[in-house]
Symmetry: C2
Amino acid sequence: MSHLLREKLQQKGLKVTPQRVAIYEAIIKLNNHPTAENVIEYIKKNHPNISVGTVYKVLDSLVENALLKKVKTERDIMRYDAVLSNHHHLYCAETDKIEDYEDEQLNLLINEHFKKNKIKNFKVQDIKLQITGQFNTHNK
Amino acid sequence: MSHLLREKLQQKGLKVTPQRVAIYEAIIKLNNHPTAENVIEYIKKNHPNISVGTVYKVLDSLVENALLKKVKTERDIMRYDAVLSNHHHLYCAETDKIEDYEDEQLNLLINEHFKKNKIKNFKVQDIKLQITGQFNTHNK
DNA sequence: CTGCGTGCAAATGGTTTGCACTACG
DNA sequence: CGTAGTGCAAACCATTTGCACGCAG
């Protein structure tokens, strides 16, 4: 799994450092859209000397090189996601939990709609749904 | 226009202060999703002594009382919107311009879809589209 | 008058930056 | 080796907070 990262980094001319590997793996492990801070906290366990600045820098460069994506919470903290496929997000109105939501049928439906109904003066590149609501946890 | 605000404030038991009125009117004037800072800058022209803290407090209370809504940019600064109807947003990939996008037909389409295809363990409250792309400005 | 709302200034918290040092290639 | 990457600490900047004063009701 991390040799995959190794390759990708090399392709982009980025050096393969232990920090980059650790950060990437942290995001895979913490697979529910960790914040930068989540990553820092997690990484410090096995890698106590890593610095906050580095984590931010690495995250940025991974995003730039399309190894990660940024998504936003309702409550405004940046989060990082290792799932690169095109998907939407479920935002819990109460907790700030986020979950991925993939729905190919819905995508088709929406694309179809915009094929028929172009937006004036605007070229659509990407569409994301922010679906806000509530998870049914314990109650039934 | 501002007597409308006056009423709403009174309904909610909030005092009608010149600051609240000024801030509300600023958002109407600056009608393209101003940031708190935009509002501050604009307001200081005619209201030089208003304090930053007050602006934030007022904005918060207007949001709480459903006179404004918060939306987010791609680039992570909070913005305020006086249009309360349910609408989506066009995000320009280059500038950080935002525009409203209303499309009743699309809403119906999506609601229909979720009526047929419920999301497991999730009760949908609200759906917003983040449509990213590019405005065709000068070039044809 | 009474307390809600304001102004001010200091604090917060996530993120960024600058620079000397380290280590990948 | 040389330069990209790191660590550290200070800086940033939007936003929040605490408290004394002022004005709307």
